[in-house]
């Protein structure tokens, strides 16, 4: 029996179209737009102005607090302007426009491809490097990694979990990363263990990535404190709480952080970024993005500089298909649809999914037949049908009592509802309202 989390979960069609495509480096764009708020927390403060000359890897926006992250230039060239630009949300976001000239890297960065496995830094130095490099969770949540690695007082990390689950259908960037950069990842894991001061690390990989499991298992053979755990394919196993449950059997209490059970989870791409930042002095300014979709000519995995427009990515994958109906930033279960292809790739962009018209529209909504499937698939043990009704009737206190804030917005309920009810849409609204309610209570 393969390990997995216990309650709920669904298994959407995997559609990992680009799983066999090696990571390609995308050609440099002509201009980039780098937003200053690419992470959860306070946006960084721009420290460059129009006309400044930049090198690749140069700091252009400084972290403005503990829960914030530095932003580095992903290209060399001249700052065109510091102004608002487009965003998936449709609301303009502040950022830095740079005209690309050549490709001159900061001399500090080690550009060689050779593996640097020897570690000669202590915990504090590693943490400082991670913080300076502006590393955030690259799985999509974009939570600043250094914050995660510094447990609050009184808490201690016991185990490090590396999330190689990639449970979202279509996405393959982490899968390719494990296949192509396994050695670096192991070094990254060791760095994180050192930073956290834990002596155990586990890499969780879903069983649909046999080649990655084989590769990583081979690599960890020499390290007795790092292990690889194959997991049963089930969405949303990539959720922090679900992964911890699946791998360690520990259950993060409602409303608490994973650290409360001694676990820290980072994903594959983040671990690789940590390796690069610490061993190669390379700040986070590029990432791997899967561009995929059933009608896309060449579904691929691209290594992209942050700030490149999405339209360039789509062009590289064979252009926007004729019958494109929806473009999604991320995977089909939790990704965000957007209409403007001029938005930039940010640290949180794990994939660009293009859906044909006939799949883009939702089916007609029917009355709830109380089949209770939403309850049985909810990985948090909630009752989505009830939360939706409470939210619809604006009974926010009721929703709070029914633990609406525990919802991880995985979308399993809406995915499975035979009546096509917009369960998650209303639950999300409930979360927004209840969140405001809770905040308003605090003095």
């Amino acid at each position: 029996m393969l390990k997995t989390f216990k309650i709920g979960g669904v298994h959407p069609a995997e559609n990992k179209l680009s799983a066999s495509k090696a990571i390609e480096v995308l050609t440099l764009p002509k201009t980039v737009f780098i937003p200053v708020g690419q992470h959860i927390g306070a946006p960084a403060e721009a420290i460059v102005k129009k006309g400044d000359k930049l090198m690749v890897g140069q700091l252009i926006a400084k972290s403005s607090g503990f829960v914030s992250a530095n932003i580095h230039s992903s290209v060399s060239g001249t700052v065109k302007k510091v102004e608002t630009g487009p965003d998936t949300s449709g609301y303009p976001k502040m950022g830095i426009y740079i005209d690309v000239e050549d490709d001159i890297w900061d001399e500090q960065i080690d550009r060689s491809a050779e593996l640097k496995s020897e570690i000669n830094l202590d915990s504090a130095a590693i943490l400082a490097k991670i913080q300076n490099a502006g590393i955030v969770g690259l799985g999509g949540a974009t939570f600043p990694t250094h914050v995660k690695l510094m447990p609050p007082k009184g808490m201690k990390a016991e185990v490090l979990l590396i999330n190689g689950v990639e449970c979202e259908p279509y996405l393959t960037s982490d899968h390719r990363m494990m296949l192509e950069h396994g050695e670096e990842l192991i070094v990254g894991v060791k760095l994180l263990m050192l930073a956290l001061n834990v002596d155990k690390a586990t890499i969780g990989i879903e069983n649909n990535k046999q080649d990655a499991i084989a590769k990583m298992s081979g690599l960890v053979a020499g390290h007795k404190n790092i292990s690889v755990v194959p997991l049963k394919v089930k969405y949303p196993q990539g959720g922090e709480k679900q992964l911890i449950k699946a791998v360690t059997g520990r259950e993060v209490p409602s409303g608490a952080l994973p650290i409360s059970v001694g676990a820290v989870v980072t994903n594959i791409a983040t671990t690789y970024a940590v390796y690069e930042a610490v061993q190669k002095n390379k700040p986070l300014f590029e990432r791997v993005v899967t561009v995929t979709g059933k009608t896309v000519k060449n579904p691929s995995n691209f290594k992209v500089r942050i700030g490149t427009t999405v339209s360039e990515l789509i062009e590289a994958a064979g252009g926007l298909p004729e019958n494109c109906g929806k473009i999604i930033n991320g995977g089909p279960m939790m990704g965000k649809a957007f209409a403007n292809t001029e938005i930039p790739v940010t640290k949180g962009t794990s994939g660009i999914l293009i859906m044909p018209e006939k799949e883009a529209k939702r089916s007609e909504t029917m009355p709830c037949i109380r089949c209770s499937r939403c309850v049985s698939v909810c990985p948090m043990g909630l009752e989505p049908f009830l939360l939706m009704t409470l939210s619809e009737k604006q009974m926010w206190e009721g929703a709070e009592n029914e633990k609406v804030m525990d919802c991880i917005e995985c979308g399993s309920c809406s995915y499975t509802c035979p009546a096509n009810r917009p369960l998650l849409d209303f639950i999300r609204l409930g979360k927004v309202k209840v969140g405001a309610l809770i905040r308003s209570r605090k003095p």
């Binding site: 669904v10 520990r250 409303g255 001694g262 929806k326 473009i327 109380r370 917009p422």
Partner: protein, 333 residues
């Protein structure tokens, strides 16, 4: 921009399941029992089923079109399912007009006034059936002898009715059971009874089909049957001369039909596994209670309706196990 992209909240994919697929799946699962009933009762069972379905669908259409004035939704299959279940719960000899009255009660009283699909607190087919049973007791309790079609006016009581009669006249149960078909025959469906209830085997087949297709979960049918078996088993062990054995109770009186098709009706059953098990156990125990000490020889319909009434309460007070409802396990706490 010439073409507009669609924006919608996540998730952007769907399982492809639909209400219609569920309803037609249940109908398909009822097919074996229907075939068996045609073999046993002949064309009369076709007549009864067709009339019940046509009446239910017809009433729903009329109510939606002329009273509620909404877009008719009869294609969802729920009215047809109510019709089939109603037909399966009546003797094949029942006059057509009574069926139509039953269908009117099922759709016009038990379903549509509450808001139609998804909002009815009681199983419409059972409400229709119980209404018929109380209003037309004679027609509803004289069953044609199974396999004797073509011969007019041959009627017989169900095994449970015979048992009740026998106990009333003071015969020991063992003696009565000797006069009844063996449990194996009862399991296969060689007995008198309503259209769809007679063959436990055919119903079991349909039930397994629904379980495999994930239309239903095991919680309700299993808890109904286990609780009925245990509860009747206790009394049988205490005094076998007064009470029939649990197997007999399981294969007679529509318990299988109730457990797999009526109690599992999504709209009128609880919304989480824990509550479903309580619900099922309640049905099993109530059924046996009614059979032992009630006025009616069989009690599945009443038991389900009574438990239907408790569903809102169960939904409110029995909650699924929430993730993270645990004490902090690590030393960090």
């Amino acid at each position: 921009m010439s073409k507009l992209f669609t924006i919608s909240p996540s998730p952007h994919v769907h399982s492809g399941d639909s209400v219609n697929k569920i309803m037609y799946g249940v109908l398909l699962a009822l097919l074996p029992a229907f075939i068996w009933s045609v073999m046993m009762f002949g064309l009369d069972s076709v007549r009864v089923t067709l009339i019940a379905v046509a009446a239910c669908v017809g009433f729903e259409l009329l109510i939606q079109k002329f009273i509620l004035k909404v877009k008719p939704q009869i294609a969802d299959g729920s009215a047809a399912l109510t019709g089939v279940l109603l037909a399966f719960n009546v003797p094949s000899s029942v006059p057509s007009w009574m069926l139509i009255v039953g269908a009117l009660v099922a759709i016009g009283i038990a379903k549509m006034p509450f808001g139609g699909l998804g909002n009815n607190p009681f199983n419409p087919a059972l409400v229709g059936r119980v209404f018929m049973l109380i209003s037309f007791p004679v027609n509803m309790t004289s069953w044609p002898v199974a396999g004797s079609f073509g011969v007019d006016a041959v009627t017989a009581a169900t095994p449970l009715a015979l048992l009740k009669e026998g106990i009333k006249s003071g015969q020991p149960v063992v003696e009565i059971l000797k006069g009844l078909p063996a449990n194996m025959d009862l399991f296969l469906g060689n007995m008198g009874g309503s259209l769809g209830e007679i063959s436990a085997l055919a119903l079991l087949l349909g039930g397994v089909f629904m379980l495999i297709r994930k239309i239903i979960t095991w919680h309700i049918p299993v808890s109904v049957m286990v609780s009925a078996a245990i509860f009747s088993g206790i009394f049988w062990l205490i005094d076998p001369s007064k009470f029939a054995d649990p197997i007999f109770h399981l294969v007679t009186g529509g318990l299988m039909l109730g457990a797999f098709f009526m109690a599992t009706d999504m709209v009128t059953s609880p919304m989480n596994p824990k509550a479903q098990i309580i619900f099922g156990a309640g049905i099993g125990i109530l059924t046996i209670l009614i059979r032992f000490w009630g006025a009616y020889p069989e009690g599945v319909s009443f038991a389900i309706l009574i438990m239907n009434a408790l569903v809102p309460l169960l939904n409110r007070y029995v909650k699924p196990k929430r993730f993270g409802e645990v004490k902090i396990q690590s030393t960090n706490g």
